[in-house]
């Protein structure tokens, strides 16, 4: 469903992605690992259309559609979801209003009727359970006053509400304790299906114990330098990233 060909991207004139090639099929879980500064977050930002990044070369297609032609909101409507590494706080905008706008825009795009107020609240109640979030969430402003763990759970909650075809989890495990990690991973797993795919971007092996990848890639210096099965993640856990850097240097 997702085909990235020779993708080059830069920010403020500095090239970060130097030729990424990646194919993700429906139902697959891909892990992208790599040391700091390798371009992991840049890749996720480019996929969702963050205007701060400029694509200088290459292409991205999603179910045959040229993603570069789509605005961020349309990419979301097509079914791409990014769980941000640092979700922003939006004081004054309530979770209810935020999610209702998002859900109804998506339905409009797909020529479906908007949900009524009560239908929507029911949807929120059902999906909240996925990440064990309590009732007080609804009236709070988006991410305002949320702990790190709560913010990440809120990301997965939104994912549950929007039911994307491709989810990108950008360092979702960073800053989480064991319990939060378990809840988040459980949430992600419960949303998986044969038609949906997930790209898990992470530093550490830990999350991959819960969300088991089919394919593991190592991103280094803007390129995917190694691809393997789940055992590659375990190897990185044992030996760190240095041996890959050495291998590349040779």
């Amino acid at each position: 469903m997702l085909e990235i060909k020779d993708l080059h991207a830069s920010i403020n004139g500095k090239e970060i992605l130097k030729g990424i090639n990646l194919v993700v099929k429906p139902g697959e879980v891909h892990a992208i690992m790599g040391p700091n500064g390798s371009g992991k977050s840049t890749l996720s930002s480019v996929l969702v259309g963050n205007p701060a990044f400029e694509v200088t070369k290459g292409s991205i297609s999603f179910y045959g559609r040229d993603l570069m032609q789509l605005s961020p909101e349309d990419r979301s409507h097509e079914g791409i979801f990014l769980s941000f590494q640092y979700p922003v706080e939006i004081p004054g905008v309530s979770m209810v209003n935020f999610m209702r706008a998002a859900v109804n825009e998506q339905r409009k795009y797909r020529n479906q009727l908007s949900l009524s107020a009560s239908e929507f609240l029911k949807l929120m109640r059902d999906k909240r359970a996925v990440v064990e979030m309590d009732n007080k969430l609804a009236n709070r402003s988006v991410n305002e006053g949320f702990s790190g763990g709560e913010k990440k759970r809120n990301e997965i909650f939104q994912m549950a509400m929007l039911e994307p075809r491709l989810s990108i989890l950008d360092e979702t495990d960073s800053g989480l304790d064991i319990d939060a990690l378990r809840i988040v991973a459980q949430g992600v797993n419960s949303l998986k299906s044969a038609e949906t795919s997930t790209i898990v971007i992470t530093h550490y092996q830990r999350l991959l114990d819960y969300i088991k990848p089919d394919i593991v890639h190592v991103l280094y210096n803007g390129r995917i330098v190694k691809t393997g099965g789940p055992e590659l993640a375990l190897l990185l856990e044992e030996r760190g990233y240095d041996w890959i850097k050495e291998e590349i240097a040779e």
Binding site: V48, S71, S76, E105, L162
Partner: protein, 447 residues
């Protein structure tokens, strides 16, 4: 052409007529006001207090004046539908400067409360009105106050005796009505006795498409321990000019909340002066401005801490679009002896376009040493990260901007202590942002 001279000549020529159609208590102040005005003239931008709005220029065009107070044939109840209906308020109208006496609300006000035409009550209760009229609004300090004191013949008077609580919020709709370009000079006087309580909502509307210039001087006396909420909403039009001076004097332990909301206007200049005269008085002074096209809104405030243990909080938020301009100049003075003062001033402004301009000038003068004072002012745009986050969830950019703008102004709306008004205002603000507020084409009936 010198606009002052025009009005000086006008006053000299028509002074007798002005007095004839007003009350003795009001007339007694005209000579002094005239002398002050003759000396000072209209303020121009070279004067510090008026540097953001060229008042003299606003008075240059010709405006009609109804000095012999001919009746204006209109029943506001029939033709006017205020945007804040069903609020369970007791509704009153002032058409130009005349209190509308027909179809008064059926709610009976508590015993002793006096409400109505300033001129009439000044005639029936001269001692009461004289005690307060022009005692706060000093013509020698402000030429607009002088001008208004010279020409104002009537307006609105409200008196709540000691210990009386007016449960139901009162709503006063100021309507500007004319077939020609027109000037209104309105006077308001509100007196609350010890322990009195009142919530008042004032809405400014225009009914016709002519050019209006209205000056208003409002004096509020908040007695010891009184509680007073004043909500002012301006929903006029591009051809309206509003110049308003509000003076408030608070005795010990009084609790006053003022919230001025400019939803639609042409050119507005609001001056608010609050004297905290008694220990433990509290003032919450708020303002919200939504302006676009070439609207101009200038809020100038002055809070004078003369007594100890008083608290002042100011929160003003502006959203400026297109080529609108806004100004906020807030001065807080903490006099020697005003110990344990707590004062906080916040002014946050959003400029949605490159051409919108905001001028903000906080001023803090502190002469006591055991105080807690802070102030902050920012001018910015909508947060790009928040915008992108919303777009990544499928919310289109325009809608995301709207949601962020509501969020921005909501803080001021949340300060409102009348539930129904607060809810209604959330809706009105949303309509305003979406461009759905259609004021002043009136309703068609009055033409």
């Amino acid at each position: 052409m010198n606009p002052e001279q025009q009005y000086i000549d006008l006053f000299v020529q028509y002074e007798a007529m002005i007095c004839q159609h007003s009350a003795g208590v009001l007339n007694a102040q005209r000579a002094k006001a005239f002398a002050c005005f003759e000396q000072a003239g209209f303020p121009d931008k070279k004067q510090e207090q008026y540097k953001y709005t060229d008042i003299a220029k606003l008075f240059e065009p010709d405006y009609g004046l109804n000095l012999n107070r001919l009746d204006i044939p209109v029943n506001p109840h029939e033709v006017f539908k205020c945007d804040v209906p069903n609020m369970s308020t007791a509704l009153y109208f002032v058409v130009n400067d005349t209190f509308y006496k027909e179809q008064l609300p059926k709610t009976s006000l508590p015993e002793g409360v006096l409400l109505g035409s300033l001129k009439e009550i000044a005639e029936s209760h001269p001692d009461l009105v004289q005690k307060y009229y022009a005692q706060l609004a000093d013509s020698s300090k402000d030429p607009i106050t002088a001008f208004n004191t010279m020409f104002a013949q009537d307006g609105f008077f409200l008196y709540v005796p000691d210990g009386v609580v007016v449960e139901k919020p009162l709503q006063l709709i100021n309507i500007l009505r004319s077939t020609v370009d027109f000037m209104v000079n309105r006077r308001v006087l509100i007196v609350l006795g010890k322990g009195a309580q009142l919530r008042l909502l004032v809405c400014d509307h225009t009914m016709d498409d002519v050019n209006f210039l209205s000056t208003q001087v409002c004096e509020v006396f908040a007695g010891e321990g009184s509680v007073f909420d004043l909500y002012e909403m301006e929903e006029t039009n591009l051809s309206s000019t509003r110049i308003s001076n509000l003076y408030v004097r608070q005795e010990a332990d009084s609790d006053v909340l003022i919230n001025g909301i400019t939803l639609t206007n042409g050119c507005t200049r609001n001056r608010t002066e609050v004297v905290l005269a008694g220990k433990g008085a509290e003032i919450s002074l708020n303002g919200m401005v939504i302006a676009d096209k070439d609207q101009h809104v200038d809020n100038s405030t002055f809070i004078d801490h003369t007594a100890s243990d008083c608290t002042s909080t100011e929160l003003f938020k502006y959203v400026l679009d297109d080529e609108s301009t806004g100004a906020f100049a807030g001065k807080v003075l903490v006099r020697p002896g005003a110990q344990k003062t707590s004062s906080q001033q916040t002014n946050r402004n959003l400029c949605a376009t490159r051409k919108a301009r905001m001028f903000t000038q906080p001023q803090l003068e502190i002469y006591a040493d055991d105080v807690k004072c802070s102030h902050g002012a920012t001018v910015g745009q909508l947060d790009e990260n928040s915008l992108f986050y919303m777009r990544s969830r499928g919310i289109p950019e325009r809608e995301a901007r709207l949601l962020l703008m509501f969020a921005f102004v909501n803080e001021v709306i949340d300060n409102i202590r009348i539930d129904a008004l607060r809810e209604r205002l959330h809706l009105l603000v949303e309509k305003r942002f979406r461009g759905d507020l259609n004021r002043c084409k009136g309703c068609g009936n009055c033409k």
